[in-house]
């Protein structure tokens, strides 16, 4: 299927589709999109060798704006679909995108398993602590006490900590970015793409339309990049920084090595397509 091509140099524009992003003006997702373009350009990925998979949400529209292959699936199922794409086609780069609702509400069960499997996926969560597409309800990353139409007396649930979940469930690369810093975010995504194994990148990507609590401004006051001497090889350390109550750290919290899922299942292959008739014949015999 893949045709041999002369190496070509791609510009940023080569990663842009002809569909214009339709997010509200000022939406954090623009910053994420730009970071994705940049990361791909830096590695000079061929657009036809990349697949961008997403669920449903404002953020999950992102594949339409990227000139690669893409799959805009159903709500909460970005990781299963991406798992299928990746396990079937480990020769392609598979990126996954979700909103915080898509990833951690309806999709939580799948995300836990995708991480546990250490699939070689780069998962970017565009986290605005709100359900944007459905016009502003409390999400799993909304803080306790958060007011929306569905939680008029304040959210009674404590927020889920995406990084802590990722660290605990086996993601081998865990990072957080901020869409107001697209250059640094591009670096994180790039590192995620380069990493062999499950890369989990939670991105603060504010929704100015519906979330008036977690805004560009409040995040700017609260974030800080991990110190330069930070040791990302230690899970306990990563967890301590991920759950820090005084700072919202940005950067790479954890990097570790582990066998990937695709490596293992492909290693278990004892034959190829060419063996099909032979294998089948053998099975027929066994039942005769």
């Amino acid at each position: 299927m893949t045709v041999d091509l002369p190496v070509r140099h791609y510009e940023l524009d080569d990663y842009k589709s002809d569909e214009k992003p339709t997010w509200c003006p000022g939406c954090g997702d623009f910053g994420v999109l730009n970071a994705v373009y940049r990361a791909m350009r830096t590695r000079n990925f061929a657009p036809h060798e990349v697949v961008a998979v997403s669920g449903i949400g404002c953020s999950s529209r992102i594949p339409y704006f990227i000139s690669t292959y893409g799959f805009h699936s159903v709500h909460g199922r970005a990781t299963p679909v991406a798992t299928g794409v990746h396990v079937a086609r480990p020769d392609l780069k598979t990126l996954v995108f979700s909103g915080d609702g898509d990833a951690f509400a309806i999709g939580a069960g799948h995300v836990v398993h995708a991480m546990r499997r250490n699939l070689d996926l780069t998962y970017v969560i565009m986290d605005n602590a709100i359900y944007g597409l459905t016009k502003g309800q409390t999400s799993p990353t909304s803080g306790i006490g958060f007011h929306t139409a569905t939680t008029p007396s304040g959210n009674p649930e404590q927020a889920l900590n995406p990084l802590a979940l990722a660290i605990t469930c086996g993601a081998t690369f865990v990072a957080r970015g901020f869409s107001a810093e697209p250059a640094k975010l591009a670096d994180l995504i790039l590192e995620g793409l380069d990493h062999k194994g499950f890369s989990f990148i939670d991105v603060y990507s504010p929704c100015p339309t519906f979330n008036k609590v977690n805004t560009f401004k409040t995040y700017k006051d609260e974030v800080d990049w991990l110190p330069s001497d930070y040791d990302a090889s230690n899970a306990a350390n990563a967890l301590a920084h991920a759950t820090s109550e005084d700072k919202r750290y940005l950067g790479v919290f954890l990097r570790r090595e582990a066998p990937t899922y695709a490596e293992q299942v492909h290693k278990a292959h004892t034959g190829t397509e060419a063996d099909r008739a032979k294998v089948l014949g053998g099975m027929f015999k066994r039942y005769s």
Partner: protein, 637 residues
């Protein structure tokens, strides 16, 4: 004493006459005991041996917990002719214990043979059947000092009874136990011999003659497989190279067999965290260019409904196996019902077409799975392949498929234009994933193909795969998705037909009930009542052309193992006429004898259109089970 001849009377014999003995062409043996007594393995040896000896075989296995004390049974029907059901009632019943006797004896054909272990069973009311005491426990424990080989002793006895060539059994025993060492093989040989000897010594040669079934000439290219095994083999034959699934009874075997087979052909099996994930993975893998499949049962299909809609909308080829069990909800995981038809055909919000196939036999499980892959690829759509507990659990001897003659279909792929190969950037946007075509089928670009980049999606979209919710787009795309179905229906596999095409009575049915109808029609023909059968294997889109003739008959009878008559509803929505629905819904297959009665009633004017409800079992329902008094053992499923 008369031995019933199942050639004519069984499975309808309970209600018919019992004629004098002639050369037997079929025999039904049931071995009943406690759940743990390991009756399944020797049963499997017996059928494999019988098949090798040239018999047609068809089996049934009833797991424990439907009947007192957790009794389970294994039933084997042997014949020199093609079989379509397990046989309503056994000609020979072997009981390991008293409970097995109590719950099974009513089903023994009048004049049939009861074999029992005299240490464990005290028969009652012995006037209507013949008796053979067979001290299995004693032979195994006392003579052989190996209580565990009791089943192999029984196996020997059975083999002797219907005069199976014992050499085949010795071979099979060796094949099976070779790995465990020669001592084990020798012990089993001894047990087999002891069983054979006991029957030869204690059954008169005249009686033995009565149980002799005429075999075919031994045929080489036959195999004995369950429906689930056939489905797994069909998947491999159909080109499956990706499977994701989650275990569930009675579908799990399909996954387990493929877990072993796929890596041998470079394919991959993923055990997913649930059914929703499984189908999501299948969609992703198919998007990536693979022939992908999942298998499940009713609860899994229910969970997959939303994701199935995504497959239809994104026009993703995939195969979903529904091994139906009795519902609703968790229901009765090891019991039979044709209750998922509505769900498989209509389950989904919005106008969501898909192809649905249904197996009438074990052989269908193989070929229709291949067809499912072919149709999925050709029409870029999900295909649900429905089996049911009867066909997926039972084993049948079937001719070994001829791989060379199988036609394999691959999806229509998009290839970049010549210049695209070097300048694909410019072609981006030119490719129309959902291009409007006369058939509704659009060429698909496989990821990795330069210039074919597109977004697969569940939102309504235009030809290029962009979300456009305007009336024209939705109208035309809805029509495109259904247009594929109009073409698919012309690819419908041939239906099962049987009986007299000129008959006044048409039986229209689907799934394993087709086999029941075939046997009923044959029995009625012997009474001089003629009927014909049509059982489509494509259920949705409904191949009207296959049904038109039958639907024009004076009487149309639609028998199904469900409450509402789900297929009857579908047929009536398409053919506005009166029909007679025949339903049974006790978690057991329809019995041939009951269907015979019901058809006879229609033929003789005692039954008009409307609905006839059958009793799910032979004999008195109330006597057979007293559910409030007993504890249901854990059925592992």
């Amino acid at each position: 004493m008369v031995v019933a001849d199942p050639k004519v009377t069984a499975p309808g014999s309970r209600h018919g006459e019992v004629p004098e003995h002639e050369i037997r062409t079929a025999l039904v043996i049931r071995v009943a005991g406690e759940a743990g007594e390991g009756i399944k393995k020797p049963g499997e040896l017996l059928i494999q041996a019988a098949a090798r000896a040239g018999f047609e075989v068809l089996t049934d296995f009833a797991p424990p917990s439907e009947i007192k004390g957790g009794v389970s049974f294994f039933q084997i029907r042997l014949s020199s002719r093609r079989l379509h059901t397990r046989g309503d009632s056994p000609d020979v019943l072997l009981c390991f214990n008293q409970e097995a006797f109590e719950v099974n004896i009513q089903e023994l054909v009048p004049g049939g043979l009861l074999i029992y272990d005299p240490e464990k069973v005290t028969p009652r009311d012995t006037s209507s059947y013949r008796l053979l005491a067979f001290p299995l426990e004693q032979i195994a424990s006392k003579e052989l000092r190996m209580p565990i080989v009791k089943n192999v002793v029984a196996l020997g006895g059975m083999a002797a009874l219907f005069q199976l060539d014992s050499a085949v059994l010795y071979d099979l025993i060796r094949e099976l136990w070779e790995r465990k060492g020669d001592a084990v093989v020798q012990t089993n040989f001894k047990a087999l011999e002891a069983g054979i000897k006991y029957v030869q010594d204690h059954v008169s040669s005249a009686d033995l003659e009565r149980f002799h079934v005429l075999p075919h000439a031994p045929e080489k290219n036959r195999m004995v497989v369950s429906g689930n095994t056939a489905t797994a083999l069909g998947a491999v034959a159909g080109g499956c190279n990706f499977f994701a699934g989650y275990p569930i009874t009675p579908a799990t075997d399909v996954m387990e067999i493929l877990a072993g087979a796929l890596p041998k052909v470079g394919g991959t099996l993923v055990q997913a965290e649930d059914e929703i994930a499984a189908l999501g993975m299948v969609i992703g893998a198919s998007y990536g260019g693979k022939k992908a499949m999942t298998s499940t049962s009713g609860p899994g299909i229910s969970l997959m409904v939303e994701t199935l809609g995504l497959a239809t909308m994104s026009e993703t080829a995939c195969v979903i196996v529904d091994a139906q069990r009795a519902g609703p909800s968790t229901g009765m995981p090891t019991r039979h019902e044709q209750g998922d038809l509505y769900l498989c055909v209509h389950g989904g919000h919005g106008e969501v077409p898909r192809i649905v196939l249904a197996a009438t036999s074990v052989e269908d499980c193989f070929y229709l799975t291949v067809t499912a892959f072919n149709l999925a690829e050709k029409y870029q759509t999900p295909v649900i392949f429905m089996s049911d507990t009867v066909v997926c659990v039972r084993s049948e001897s079937i001719p070994m498929p001829d791989l060379a003659s199988l036609q394999i279909e691959n999806r229509l792929t998009w290839t970049p234009p010549a210049e695209g190969a070097t300048a694909f950037g410019e072609n981006e946007g030119a490719y129309k994933r959902y291009a409007m075509t006369e058939t509704g089928i659009s060429p698909v670009a496989i990821p990795g193909t330069p210039g074919g980049q597109y977004v697969g999606m569940g939102l309504e979209h235009n030809e290029r795969g962009r979300h456009r919710p305007d009336p024209r787009t939705h109208t035309q795309m809805t029509e495109k998705r259904f247009r594929k179905m109009e073409h698919a229906v012309t690819d419908a596999p041939e239906p099962v037909t049987h009986g007299d095409p000129d008959a006044d009575i048409a039986i229209v049915t689907w799934g394993s009930t087709a086999g029941v109808a075939i046997e009923a029609i044959d029995l009625l023909a012997a009474e001089g009542i003629s009927a014909c059968l049509v059982a489509p294997k494509m259920i949705s889109p409904l191949p009207r052309h296959q049904l038109v003739a039958a639907m024009g008959k004076k009487h149309v009878i639609i028998p199904e193992v469900n409450f509402r008559g789900q297929f009857a509803d579908m047929v009536q929505a398409s053919f506005p006429r009166e029909v007679t629905r025949i339903n049974v819904y006790g978690g057991r297959p329809m019995l041939v004898c009951h269907l015979v009665d019901a058809i006879r009633d229609v033929a003789q004017g005692r039954q008009g259109t409307g609905r006839v409800v059958l009793n799910p079992i032979i004999g008195d329902l109330d006597k057979l089970v007293t559910p409030d008094d007993l504890i249901a053992p854990l059925e592992r499923h």
